[in-house]
């Protein structure tokens, strides 16, 4: 219990793990969003960017760290949720909660985001790596996998674009509780700074949602 291996089996240790992996995943979202901006510049640049991301050794290592981060966050969430359900086996006939819906349903929004993530990876990560993909030319005239056309084709379908919009709105609700909650779990609470952390959390959630939603909406509209 009091050694560091036991730390993460305690309730608070699991919360630290949840907070740290959550904030790490937040940093990934920022990188992903910045990279996606290449979609708005030009097809060649975007295709070269995707080639760089899938071939650079440092990025490949980070990819493994990212998978570990996701798995830790998910497995930890399952363990915590299991304990929480067991802690309150009988529900109230009448229950009025004063907290926000999204703060109480992180498991639900998290699960839907996971489903979204699987769909997203199947389409683009698996599709790019193992699927049949058209070739285009890079800036030097060499052949390059045409991810840009793949994105365009995916978002020309209204239902596929809609999955992204819903997924990203739920991600926003997940982040608006999760971001500031991570600081509280780590014990970083201060009368002067916490209101700012909460505002930054809300702004971050809004920025990520609007940022990621802009891609499916833009590419759907231009192909109408």
């Amino acid at each position: 219990m009091s050694n560091s291996a036991g730390l993460f089996s305690s309730s608070l240790g699991r919360k630290y793990l949840m907070a740290l992996t959550g904030l790490f995943l937040c940093s990934f979202l920022v990188i992903h969003l910045i990279g996606n901006v290449a979609l708005f510049t030009d097809p060649v640049q975007f295709n070269e960017y995707t080639r760089f991301m899938s071939s650079n050794p440092l990025i490949r290592i980070m990819e493994i760290v990212l998978v570990v981060g996701f798995l830790t966050h998910i497995i930890d969430a399952i363990l915590l949720t299991k304990a929480n359900k067991a802690a309150q086996p009988v529900k109230y006939a009448m229950d009025k909660k004063k907290s926000t819906w999204y703060s109480r349903n992180m498991g639900l929004t998290g699960t839907i985001i996971l489903v979204f993530l699987i769909i997203h990876l199947q389409s683009f990560w698996y599709g790019y790596k193992f699927g049949v993909i058209e070739m285009a030319e890079d800036s030097s005239g060499a052949a390059i996998k045409d991810m840009y056309t793949m994105v365009l084709a995916a978002f020309s379908q209204w239902w596929y674009a809609a999955i992204y919009v819903v997924g990203m709105i739920l991600l926003g609700t997940h982040l608006s509780h999760g971001f500031q909650s991570a600081f509280q779990s780590m014990g970083l609470r201060h009368k002067k700074y916490t209101p700012t952390i909460q505002k930054v959390g809300t702004a971050f959630a809004l920025a990520m949602t609007l940022g990621f939603i802009s891609f499916p909406i833009y590419f759907y509209i231009i192909q109408l």
Binding site: L12, N84, A87, Q88, Y92, S103, H177, Q184, S185
Partner: protein
């Protein structure tokens, strides 16, 4: 006032339990909620029925004995009070009021609305104290200076009466607000600092062992606490526990 009560009746820990409806008439709005329950029990006893078991003691909001989940909230709809301080004027004529016991695996129902809150005592027993003998040889209070801000925070934490409303309202039945109030109350004062590390480790371990859930930072506990204990205490506990876990040589 006429009201309809929907009261949880459960004949012991092994009984499944059910909601039973009682019609109450001529209830004075000036009655406390517990007095209204007394009237109900008088009526039940007169009829030869089993009265509703519920916890109460001081009836002035300081002992932490009264509980009950009234219309979906621990200690009823008003803020910063216990059930004994709740009055019938907080309800409207013709209202239906649900009365349920505090729900948590760590707080098993003994009978009707009475739950066993021994788990809180068990958490206190592993560290909610200072091992300083203060009887008979009390030193001058001014010989140990305490910063005003710390004294205020410690006092705020010390107002926790251990009623269990935080556990009852938490969707995870987490006892973190209670445990955190005790940990920060003592960690902020010089007498308590000596054992702060051990206290944080032992009390959190006991809390986990007793089957309370985890904190998801929804903040329901802080809103429902009759003494207004702040989530700030949970953050302080999180810091204390992290530091203690890393420093501890055990």
């Amino acid at each position: 006032m006429n009201i309809t009560l929907k009261v949880w009746r459960q004949n012991g820990a092994d009984d499944k339990g059910r909601i039973v409806e009682y019609k109450m008439s001529d209830i004075s709005p000036d009655m406390s909620f517990l007095e209204m329950m007394d009237v109900l029990n008088e009526e039940l006893i007169t009829k030869g029925d089993d009265p509703v078991a519920f916890d109460h003691d001081c009836r002035e909001g300081i002992c932490g004995m009264c509980s009950m989940y009234i219309n979906g909230e621990p200690h009823g709809p008003e803020d910063l009070i216990t059930t004994c301080q709740l009055h019938m004027r907080s309800f409207k004529d013709g209202d239906t009021i649900y009365v349920e016991p505090f729900r948590a695996a760590a707080f098993p129902v003994i009978k009707d609305l009475v739950v066993d809150r021994t788990a809180f005592d068990a958490i206190i027993q592993v560290g909610g104290y200072v091992s300083v003998n203060t009887s008979g040889n009390t030193q001058d209070a001014n010989s140990l200076p305490v910063p005003k801000a710390d004294a205020d925070k410690a006092f705020d934490a010390a107002t926790c009466i251990g009623c269990g409303a935080c556990v009852a309202t938490c969707k995870n039945s987490s006892a973190m607000l209670f445990t955190a109030a005790k940990i920060s109350h003592l960690a902020l004062l010089p007498q308590g600092k000596v054992e702060a590390q051990e206290r944080a480790l032992n009390m959190v371990e006991k809390m986990d062992e007793l089957g309370f859930g985890n904190c998801t930072n929804t903040g329901d506990c802080e809103v429902q606490c009759p003494k207004g204990i702040s989530l700030e205490n949970i953050a302080l506990m999180n810091r204390e526990f992290l530091g203690a876990s890393l420093k501890s040589e055990k």
